[in-house]
């Protein structure tokens, strides 16, 4: 195939421009996090870690990080657990109403988060419950469940039923079969789904802003409340920490899942 044609060069150039567009805001956040000055944005006057130090000393930001990490981990755990069960039902069994139910479970993707946020909050208000950490957790489970379900289902389709049947015919019960056969084969998808759920929960702002309270702030909510004043190097520093965290997690996950899947037949 000829690739040196002028058309191809244009396509490549265009793609590079789109990349620059997509990454400039991200790079700028990372760079400005080291900006020593207090007001204004550019020009930078040297390189300094003072804003990172200030972040590390800020109790409420440490608290927000702790909240986000706990919330993200629990969300990933619950979503993945119930997502695996649902995926097993959809892929391994035939039952009436299957397609409708599958669409129902995937529907949170297509429902605007702002409506989801209002709806759950309104329901809570009707039950006369205060906003709490539990609200954030159940909300995030609903937000992330469809993604976990999609990822696990896609992998489960590719795992032959015969493996499970072989295990059963050798005398394994349903739970043993799952633990010894299905689970190891499914592990890459479980890891990927769990990580995806974690980052969605960790990054979510649209619905979370409805559900969070002053006691249960997550990092994005914290950034949002800091933005009220104006953008500052401190916000950029916080952004930089978050970017590093959320980008490192999937890369690590991808590496792990490739290792696990290579170890299996």
């Amino acid at each position: 195939m000829k690739k040196i044609s002028p058309g191809w060069t244009l396509i490549r150039l265009y793609t590079i421009l789109v990349y620059i567009f997509m990454f400039t805001p991200i790079v700028v956040v990372m760079v400005l996090a080291f900006n020593p000055k207090q007001f204004g944005i550019f020009p930078m006057e040297g390189v300094s870690l003072r804003w990172f130090v200030k972040l590390a000393q800020n109790e409420s930001i440490i608290e927000a990080f702790r909240n986000s990490l706990v919330l993200g981990s629990l969300t990933a755990l619950i979503s993945t657990a119930i997502g695996i069960l649902a995926a097993m039902a959809f892929i391994r069994f035939e039952f009436p109403g299957k397609n409708t139910l599958n669409t129902l479970l995937l529907s949170p993707i297509m429902i605007p988060e702002v409506v989801l946020g209002v709806a759950l909050l309104l329901f809570l208000r009707f039950l006369q419950q205060p906003k709490s950490f539990a609200l954030l957790l159940i909300g995030h489970v609903v937000l992330t469940l469809p993604y976990v379900l999609l990822i696990v289902q896609a992998r489960l389709v590719g795992i032959k039923k015969e493996y499970e049947e072989a295990a059963k015919s050798l005398g394994a019960n349903a739970f043993q079969t799952f633990r010894e056969v299905t689970f190891p084969l499914l592990l890459p998808a479980i890891l990927a789904g769990g990580l995806f759920a974690f980052t969605i929960s960790f990054d979510d702002i649209t619905a979370t802003l409805f559900w969070a309270t002053a006691q249960n702030q997550t990092v994005p909510v914290k950034i949002f409340s800091m933005l009220r004043n104006s953008i500052s190097p401190e916000i950029n520093a916080l952004g930089a920490v978050m970017i590093v965290l959320t980008v490192a997690t999937p890369l690590l996950g991808g590496y792990l899942s490739r290792r696990f899947s290579r170890a299996k037949p």
Binding site: A89, I109, L122
Partner: protein, 288 residues
Amino acid sequence: MKSDKWKPWALLAPSLTAVFLLLVIPVCFIVVYSFWLRAPSGADIPAFQMGNYAKFFEDFFYPGILIRTIRIAFETVLLCVVMGYIPAYFFYRSESRYKRVFLLLIMLPFWISFIIRTMSWINIMGDSGLINHFLLKIGLIETPIAMLYNEFSVLMGLIMYLLPFMVLNIYVSLEGIDKSLLEAARCMGCTEWQAFREVTLPLSLPGVSAGCLLVFVLTAGTYLPPMILGGPGNDMIANLIFKRVIGTLDWPFGSAISVILLSLLFVIVWTYNRYLGINQIFKSFQGK
């Protein structure tokens, strides 16, 4: 085979319970609440009246915001197609050994917080931001140009958020095209451009339309870019919901606006599903 009819239901029980309790019932609640009355004291009174909907359509103010939302969503969709198709095509045709890295990079923004990507436009388009700093430095302008807090900056924020969805959808459908079809077209004497126009482009349209629907729905349901990058005149329908519910605590009216937004999107998604099928959208999340 033994009767194991109950098994799938047992497996589905936790997720169905979660979605039913936390999604279906709450959404029904919004509908019920949208007919309620708000007392001057701020209490909500159960009722069945159309007052909240009448208020929305009583003058041009609220419908104007709805129309603006639809217009901005269409603009975003269009810009995302224009900006997203070529990079997706580039990944599809590229034989570079860095192809995986390119793909990973375009996925990267998915992992980076929406609020960080949105607020960073202030770093770039603000009065002392990157662009103004550069233009001042080279002496093209004397005073900073005001670039923020208008519809353009809102669009920039939206594209930043939604472009990866579009690229991914188009790429997934391009990858699904049998490459031998292209070779056949070339053998039969098509030029590269003709082969693209007659084979690749039509076969990638399902991905394009899936991307368009996703981008439209997500744009219509977001309030963050207008809130952070927009001015007073750039509010979209989701901003209105946020302000009514969180700001003035007017739950019945906030619910009515949510129902209006939900119905609009339902009509669009339903029509789309009727003629094109919705499953293409879910494919893009699986194909990694």
